[in-house]
Structures are given as structure tokens and as C-alpha cells.
């Protein structure tokens, strides 16, 4: 187990390094072919050469390598890595540090993710287990139909429909009948409200969780079906155990292994979904920050937030792998 953990952690660090390098190379190439993003700082008015040079220096873009297409710009990369280690992920166009923005935005993203994870897990486990149990029956077919329907509604569409078509009339009605400070009215508020950070992320979170649950339902169903037919389940039944016990200790427990491995991918999906959700619903979180940065073309923020989210993804994938080992003794005792 110890060796496995060390190996996985080292692998994770390497992956992270390579991912950051990839992001650096992409940025560098973009600057080389597309011109200097420092210009965006000045918006519409044309800066003087001196002003431009000052801004370039501040963003670390004054290295001549940025003028030579194809140059990997190793020196600025090393410099940037050093900045990352010190917790410096750049600044936005108004000179506010990304770390500062993220530290105020992250709690809302965490709230959203908590709601998402709970929804996603409960819906996925419940419907997936039921579908496996009643395989081939009407219930199974219904759940399958539901998961197809969820798949056919991209997060983006769900959020637009929710915001523009559902919440506005519902909120207006609830506000007029119950008052604008009532829980129900806040729950259906068309956009995020900083004074009610929990209540206004519940519905977007539930919807995002539902959107991610379709593939999870299928996965749970497939993993459990594999176990329903397994020899070891037959052995358990031969022991005279109640079906409930067999399902919990042999089917759900064993199917947890493949299910856990998929959590990492569902997480990356959910991150993308969170950007859209926070963007459309105006939630002040990491995704919302990124969304607005794309709209205002604030490359510094985009770069910083994407890097931070990449670090987060690597960490989650690492944790998933460790959990996987904890669940499967065949790996633990390799």
C-alpha cells in the first residue's frame, strides 16, 4: 500500500507539471502568433510604447522569446513555476490578484459542488441500483429513458431554460405572494444573491447534479449487473442470506470499485458544467469568474483559474486512485 501511494503521488506531480507545461506552451504560442495580450489592458485606446513596455514587464511578457514563433520560452516558464509555488497565479486587468479573487469566489463554488455531489450521488446510486435490480422490467426502461433525456439536455440548455423560462415567472409569483425575503422566493431567484449564498445555489446545484447523473446511473447499473451474475454472489445466496444483505455487501460493495474509478471523469465534467452554471446563473464562484473573464477577454484570470482548476482535478484524480486501492484488496496487496 505504501509503495502504491508514493508511486501514485509522484505520478500525479509529474502529470501536474506536464499539464502546466502544456498550458504554458499554448499561451506562449498564442502570444507569439496573436500578439501581446498586454494590449487588452488598455482596452480601446492605443498605448504608447513606454506604457506597453511597463505593462509587459508587469505581466512577465517582456522576454524576447515571445516575439519568436516556436520558441518554447523556458525562462519565463521557470519564472512562472516559481510564482505558482509562492501562490502567485497572476492578476486580472485591474491588478487584483487571482489568488485573492479565487479565495473569495471558492466558497460559493464549494457550496455548489456540495449540492451537485449529493444530488448526483443520491440520484445515481438510487436509480442505478433500482435499474439493475429490476433489469429488463418497466422500471429499468423508464430509468433508461430518463437518463437519455437528461443526456439530451446539455447543462447549458438546462440553465438557460431554468433561468429564462422557469424562474422568472415562478419567482415573480412567489415574491408577490410570499414576499421577496421568503425562503421559497429566494430558492427560485433567477440569479445568485450574495446575502443568501446557500439558498440561491441549491436549485442550480440540483440541476447540475441531475445533468451529471445520467452517465453515473448507467455506470452503477452496469457495474451492479456484472455482480448480479457473478459466482461470488451465488455463493452468498447459497449461504441463505437475505437478498438485502447480498445486495449491500456483495453487489453494491463490489460494484463500488468500478464506480469510484469513474468519479474522476465525472468530476471534470462537473467542472465544465459548473463554469456554465455559475456563468448563466451569475454565481460568484470560480466558474463564474472564468465565465466573465472569457467575456471580457481577461487572459490573466483565465490562465490563473484554469491552472488552479487543473491542480484541483489532479488532486481529485489522485484521491480517487487512493480510494480505489482502499476498496480493492487485490491492488492494496499488490
Amino acid at each position: 500500500m505504501g509503495r502504491y501511494v508514493v508511486r501514485r503521488v509522484l505520478q500525479g506531480i509529474l502529470t501536474l507539471f506536464l499539464a502546466v507545461l502544456l498550458l504554458h506552451l499554448l499561451t506562449t504560442l498564442a502570444i507569439q502568433v496573436n500578439g501581446n495580450p498586454a494590449r487588452a489592458f488598455f482596452g480601446d485606446h492605443l498605448p504608447s510604447a513606454a506604457q506597453l513596455a511597463a505593462v509587459e514587464k508587469r505581466y512577465g511578457l517582456d522576454d524576447p522569446c515571445f516575439d519568436q514563433t516556436g520558441n518554447p520560452c523556458v525562462k519565463p516558464f521557470v519564472h512562472r513555476l516559481g510564482d505558482y509555488f509562492r501562490g502567485d497565479f497572476g492578476t486580472d486587468l485591474h491588478d487584483r490578484s487571482v489568488t485573492d479573487i479565487v479565495s473569495t469566489a471558492a466558497p460559493n463554488t464549494l457550496r455548489l459542488f456540495l449540492v451537485v455531489t449529493v444530488t448526483w450521488f443520491v440520484v445515481g446510486m438510487l436509480l442505478g441500483s433500482v435499474a439493475a435490480r429490476y433489469r429488463g422490467k418497466v422500471t429499468d426502461g423508464g430509468i433508461r429513458g430518463l437518463s437519455i433525456l437528461i443526456d439530451a439536455l446539455p447543462v447549458f440548455v438546462i440553465m438557460l431554460v431554468w433561468k429564462y423560462i422557469v424562474t422568472v415567472p415562478v419567482y415573480t409569483h412567489l415574491r408577490d405572494s410570499l414576499g421577496s425575503e421568503s425562503f421559497w422566493a429566494i430558492l427560485f431567484k433567477p440569479s445568485f444573491d450574495r446575502t443568501h449564498p446557500w439558498a440561491t445555489v441549491i436549485m442550480p446545484g440540483v440541476l447540475l447534479g441531475l445533468a451529471g447523473s445520467a452517465s453515473f446511473i448507467r455506470l452503477v447499473r452496469a457495474a451492479q449487473l456484472e455482480n448480479y451474475g457473478a459466482d461470488h454472489v451465488r455463493t452468498a445466496r447459497a449461504k441463505g442470506l437475505a437478498e438485502r444483505h447480498v445486495i449491500i455487501h456483495h453487489i453494491v460493495r463490489n460494484s463500488a470499485i468500478p464506480v469510484v474509478t469513474a468519479v474522476g471523469f465525472v468530476f471534470t465534467d462537473a467542472l465544465g458544467g459548473a463554469v456554465v452554471t455559475e456563468g448563466v446563473m451569475n454565481i460568484y464562484g470560480m466558474g463564474g469568474t472564468l465565465w466573465r473573464a472569457v467575456q471580457t477577454n481577461d487572459v490573466g484570470v483565465i490562465m490563473g483559474v484554469v491552472t488552479l482548476l487543473t491542480v484541483l482535478t489532479v488532486t481529485v484524480m489522485l484521491l480517487v486512485d487512493l480510494l480505489y486501492a482502499a476498496l480493492d484488496p487485490r491492488i492494496r496487496f499488490d
Partner: protein, 348 residues
Amino acid sequence: MSSTPTARPATEPLLQVEDLAVEFRTPAGVVRAVDGLSYSVSAGQTLAIVGESGSGKSVSSLAVMGLLPRPPARIVGGRALFQGRDLLSLPPKEHRAVCGDHVAMVFQDALAALNPVHTVGWQLTEALVARHRISRRDARKRAVELLDLVRVPHAKQRVKDYPHQFSGGMRQRVMIAIALAMDPEVLIADEPTTALDVTVQAQIMRLLAEIQAERQMGLVLITHDLGVVADVADDVVVMYAGRAVEQADVFSAYASPAHPYTKALLASIPRLDQRGGTLDVIPGRPPVQGRIPAGCPFHPRCGYAQDVCRTDPRPEPVEVAPGRFSRCHFAGDVLAGREPAELLEEGL
């Protein structure tokens, strides 16, 4: 009951299967996997069910245990009496509970039949803990006892191990220990040695025979290996295409088989006392379920086959001797040891 001079213990049968019939619904149509199977086993007795792959021997025991997946399987007839109680008419939940306490099963592939994510100790006492609520400390003690019973060395340490940490033979011992955990009256062993090395096979068979004798269990041994049967079985049921083609005590079956299939099976066992000659094989292949030949299902592979075997409906069991049955039109002739050529000469 007066004592009779026969070797068989004159007790009530523990498990009595009567006229069992199982069907499978497959995309290709309904397939009858077991058709009119009857047998009984008493305390201390070993019954061997012998047959090739697909003869219905495993399906019949899974049906008795209530472990067949339904659908596609369906039990369409017959009874399975355990101590006089028909298991097949019980609700599934009760059926399994009775089997859990009294009728245990040892499966073929121990690696697949054991749960990879739980320790061996946990699996050994799972039923005791879940159904009889014994304490964890008692469970641990009981698990060590059980591993000792099946002679797994260092039982105390090994209860904490996972199935993949055991060798094939040791895993099969664990499988047997799990079956013994509830002190069953009847043990059904489904090809318990097929997946193992020859030397390990002998050890496992010896262990099973010893434990059975010690505890006076009824043992149903399912195998395709007639060689194994001779050493341990009292009675033998030979199955072909879902039916019992011959039922006899093991000595008579070996000495004078009453069905051409049994005879052919015996002839195909390699023997150490006959050097040089070629080994007899049974020509052709076992029938695929769903495409069983009309008439006697064995006729395409049978040296005795005549027109009657092809045209007549399947032969019914003939009692060739007291307690001996054979489903063959020529049972008497086969029993008498006459060869197909002799019958032909007589112009039959």
C-alpha cells in the same frame, strides 16, 4: 424396520429429488435442461451425478438450492424434499433460508466463487453473523476452527487474508469450509476439483470424503470424471441430455453397466493395468441443448442403436435389477455384457 443385509443404511433419505424438470427460455426457444430427474441421498451416503458438459447436472443442483436465475430458468415440474419438506414449493426467501442452514454447496471455481473484497474470515462466518447474530469474537474463533477443519495451515493468521492470497487448492478448502460453516446435513459439491492440479484434486477429494464420514452428511458429488466416483461414491446417477440414463449402486454400475453410455464412459477411462492399446473414445459430440436428437438422444453416438432408437419416443427407465434403472431399449443386453456385433448377428 428390520435390518436388511444390504450395505446401504436403511434410514430416511435426507434429500429426495423427484421427477425434477427445468426449462430455460432462450432467444432460440425453450430448452429443457433437466427432464424427469429423480434421486435420493441419505445421511452418510455419497451420491455421484456423472455426465458430460451440458448434461444438466449442475442445473439440477442449482434448482434444488434455489439458485437458478429466474427468468430465464423455470422449474416446470417435480419436487425436492429435504427431510420430507418440498423445497421447491417454498417461497424463494424461505427456500434459501432452509438451504442456508441445511443444504450447502461447494462451487467449482473457488476464485470466482469467493468475494475478492472481503477477507476469508469474514466470508466464513458471514451467515453466522448476519443470520444468527454471533459476536465478532466468536465469529473469529469459529472462522479459525473452520479453516483448521479443512486443514489450512496457520489458520489463525490466514483468516485475515483475502481470497487472491491463497493458492488454488487452499481456496477450494476455504470454499468447503464456508459450506461447512452452518453444519449442513447435505453437501452438494459441484465439480469441486475440476479447476485444480491432479495431485491437489486427490487431496481435496480425500478431505471431502473424510469430513463426510466424520459428520455423516449426505454428499451429492457432481462430476464428469467417472474415475473420481469409484473411490468415494455409494450410488451413481449417469446423466445425458438432461435425463438420468442409468441409476445404480457404484459397484454394479462399474462391474456391469446397463446403459451403452455408461459402458462407453467406463471404456474411455485410462487404466494403468492395460498398456499399449488405444483408448476407447465416445464418437461424436454431446448434443447441444435445443438440438437434442429425436428418439433416444444418445443414438447418434451409440453402437447399439437400431431403428427403434431413432423412431421411438425417448425410452422410459427400465428396472434391470432391484434398485437399478436404465433408459435403453437394449438395457438387458447391455447389462448381460453383449456387444453390438452379437446383437446384429442375431438379426435384431
